[in-house]
């Protein structure tokens, strides 16, 4: 078994003022959100697509920078924390009524997706709004200094779980797939080719698209900025973060097979996980079971 081919070759699109996220932003070193935005920008350029952004409270809107400047080259609306998918619904309605073709993209963190924005997202998914909803999941309320969200994995220490989080991470992909939306996929910033293909697929798909990006946050994860990409690659290799797609909520495709690297290293290189905070045997079992489930679904309902 091997991981998906993930070279770092990218289309020859220079990062310039035409990029979605312009140079000169104030994002942290090693920020997975920044990598995700750059990949999104390149995919938009490759597809020759324009976009409008609806961004709730999160590092994504802080990244725009201070008025009157903006790091984004696309029209951007800062929405209230819970409202991104609803504001985007209004933007999509008027786009369609006027025959315009830009993508309407929600760019939200895990707090705005798994927690406060979930009802809004669920309703937009149920209406099958033509939105690309992207959650960059750094598994923490990063912008407020590192509090637990329902995306925080068990064992992780946050400022509101000082002894380590006891509960499991919410299965947001299962929730979104249960809406039967046309397309849902997970993305790792360590797999840019896979990410590129999924962004392009999302742009071509009519209706609700949900993309979940595993997004390292050195500040919140207490990890080295230079380790970010290696960490999320390790998450894919060890089966902690499966790369897969769900079509119409029913047909599954697994995009990368773990080589079952030891997840111990993943936890050891992040100081948010105190020593012995994670039950590795349980973690390995949960990861294996998750893959058995994904393969069972993909076998029964192949994409």
């Amino acid at each position: 078994m091997s991981t998906v081919e993930s070279t770092l070759t990218i289309p020859d699109i220079p990062c310039s003022e035409e990029c979605l996220l312009r140079a000169g932003n104030t994002n942290c070193g090693g920020c997975g959100m920044t990598l995700g935005l750059n990949m999104l920008g390149r995919a938009l350029a490759e597809a020759d697509q324009q976009c409008q952004l609806a961004i709730p409270a999160c590092c994504g809107i802080v990244a725009a920078g201070a008025f009157p400047t903006t790091a984004y080259s696309a029209p951007t609306v800062a929405t209230t924390f819970a409202a991104a998918a609803a504001v985007a619904s209004g933007m999509v309605a008027i786009r369609d009524l006027n025959g315009e073709s830009h993508q309407v993209i929600c760019w939200a963190g895990d707090g705005g997706t798994y927690d406060i924005g979930l009802a809004t997202l669920s309703a937009a998914a149920e209406r099958n709004e033509d939105i690309v909803y992207i959650c960059y999941d750094n598994e923490i309320y990063g912008n407020t200094g590192g509090q637990r969200s329902s995306a925080t994995p068990p064992g992780a220490r946050t400022t509101t779980t000082p002894a380590g989080k006891q509960e499991a991470k919410k299965d947001i992909m299962g929730i979104m797939a249960a809406h039967g939306i046309p397309y849902a996929a997970t993305i790792s910033v360590a797999h840019p080719d896979d990410a590129r293909r999924k962004f392009l697929r999302a742009f071509e798909t009519r209706g609700m698209k949900f993309l979940l990006i595993h997004s390292p946050c050195p500040t919140g994860w207490k990890s080295e900025p230079g380790d970010s990409v290696q960490l999320v690659r390790l998450a894919v290799r060890s089966g902690l973060f499966p790369l897969f797609e769900v079509f119409d909520g029913i047909r599954y495709r697994v995009n990368a097979e773990p080589d079952w690297a030891d997840p111990a290293e993943y936890f050891a290189r992040q100081r948010r996980f105190p020593p012995d905070a994670v039950d590795l045997d349980t973690t390995r079992r949960v990861c294996r079971e998750r893959f058995i489930r994904l393969h069972t679904l993909a076998g029964a309902f192949p994409a």
């Binding site: 609806a54 609306v77 009524l97 006027n98 009802a119």
Partner: protein
């Protein structure tokens, strides 16, 4: 158009829908809608309207109803919604943001008691709680006012000197569910009255901007000053909107305040909405009997028409403010602002607050007679009086003092 017998909700839904349709030659219309008694018939009417360039999005909450409306508005469309009571409370965050984003959204609110205890009847506490947000607030007293002010609201909101959202409010059931003869606009009239919306800061691919990103305090001050200046322009622009309305519809939708018999009154009642309608009958009857009483009916609450109110009250030494609302720990909201409007006034006036019809109780002519009788006996202003509480009125009534003895209401 011939008069039709319709409810206040029907009148509101008609005006909202026709206003949205009128923007079909512009960027169209959209709204997020969510039901709550007693406004639901408004959004039902909107949902059934055959828009030629519009979309009605039935969402999962009031918070999202305003969010969809905001998204449509920022994309350059004419956008509106309706809500009430606890629905407005749930919507509050996006109501605030819509105002600070200077989006010309129109919302019809049916004034219903905030719960708990749960109560669906008329009380203005729900919209008055929004008083500090950058929304213009208009209060309609009957079905025709609901209809006319809703159309005026769009023209006012979309004027480039204003660019602020507008709330049009009506009393639950007394107006929302009561049928009355109403002159409903034709589409041709609304087309003539409402030009296509041109939102200067709408999302534009050629000029990408970030709306709502971080600012420093100095830019925030500039923003608030802009809002304040727009608010100060409202009376002038509202007058122009009235004149334009009269040209198209042949009637005056009426202005920020209306007054009767105040020019030589020594006692004036200040109130709004349907309470003002009842108060007018009482005042007319007592006038006919020789009493020097007058009435001021408030339509505009934000911006608060201080100078117009002072002018309308003339030389009246006794002013009774009737509030169908209660601000905890304070008293009536209209009373607070009325008192503030008379700050520094040269005349010694007694400004007394009466909390009446709070929670939707009937405000009868008898209650208003009681208020006027009580007001005539007071030498100094007392704390707000709960009118329906037994013994609250005419507490310690004494012979009417000389007006010179009156103290300024506190």
């Amino acid at each position: 158009m011939p008069l039709e017998v319709v409810t206040g909700n029907h009148a509101a839904g008609h005006a909202l829908s026709f206003a949205g349709e009128a923007n079909r030659t512009g960027r169209g219309t959209a709204c997020g809608i969510y039901p709550i008694t007693p406004q639901t018939e408004i959004v039902e009417r909107v949902a059934a309207f055959p828009f030629s360039k519009g979309r009605v999005v039935a969402v999962e909450s009031e918070h999202s109803a305003m969010a969809v409306t905001m998204g449509a508005s920022v994309a350059g469309a004419r956008a509106f919604t309706a809500s009430s009571s606890n629905g407005l409370a749930y919507m509050v965050e996006n109501i605030m943001v819509t105002g600070f984003y200077r989006l010309p959204v129109v919302m019809v609110a049916v004034n219903r008691t905030l719960g708990p205890p749960w109560n669906i009847w008329a009380d203005q506490g729900d919209t008055l709680m929004l008083r500090d947000f950058p929304w213009i607030q208009l209060y309609a007293a009957n079905n025709q006012e609901v209809h006319d002010l809703t159309l005026v609201a769009f023209r006012l909101a979309e004027d480039h000197r204003i660019l602020l959202p507008v709330l049009v409010c009506m009393d639950a059931f007394i107006v929302s569910h009561t049928q009355a003869e109403t002159d409903l606009a034709t589409q041709e009239q609304v087309d003539a009255y409402l030009p296509d919306l041109d939102l200067p800061h709408r999302l534009d691919q050629d000029h990408p901007r970030a709306l709502g990103s971080m600012v420093w305090p100095d830019a925030t001050v500039s923003h608030r000053v802009d809002v304040d200046e727009a608010m100060q322009r409202v009376p002038q622009v509202l007058d122009e909107c009235r004149e334009a309305f009269a040209e198209v519809f042949g009637r005056d939708p009426s202005g920020p305040i209306e007054s009767w018999h105040t020019e030589d009154a020594d006692t004036v009642l200040v109130t709004s909405a349907t309470v003002a309608t009842t108060a007018r009958r009482v005042v007319e009857r007592r006038r006919a009997a020789g009493e020097r009483v007058g009435l001021v009916k408030m339509r505009l609450f934000r911006p608060f028409p201080e100078s117009a109110l002072r002018e309308a009250c003339g030389a009246a030494r006794r002013i009774g403010v009737l509030d169908r609302d209660y601000a905890a720990g304070m008293g009536g909201v209209w009373w607070q602002d009325t008192r503030a409007a008379f700050q520094g006034d040269a005349l010694a006036r007694l400004i007394q607050n009466y909390l009446v019809g709070v929670g939707g109780g009937d405000v009868t002519p008898e209650l208003i007679d009681g208020i006027l009788d009580d007001l005539a006996t007071r030498q100094v202003a007392a704390p707000p009086v709960w009118v329906e509480v037994e013994g609250a009125l005419a507490r310690g009534a004494v012979a009417q003092p000389a007006t010179a003895d009156l103290e300024v209401g506190t």
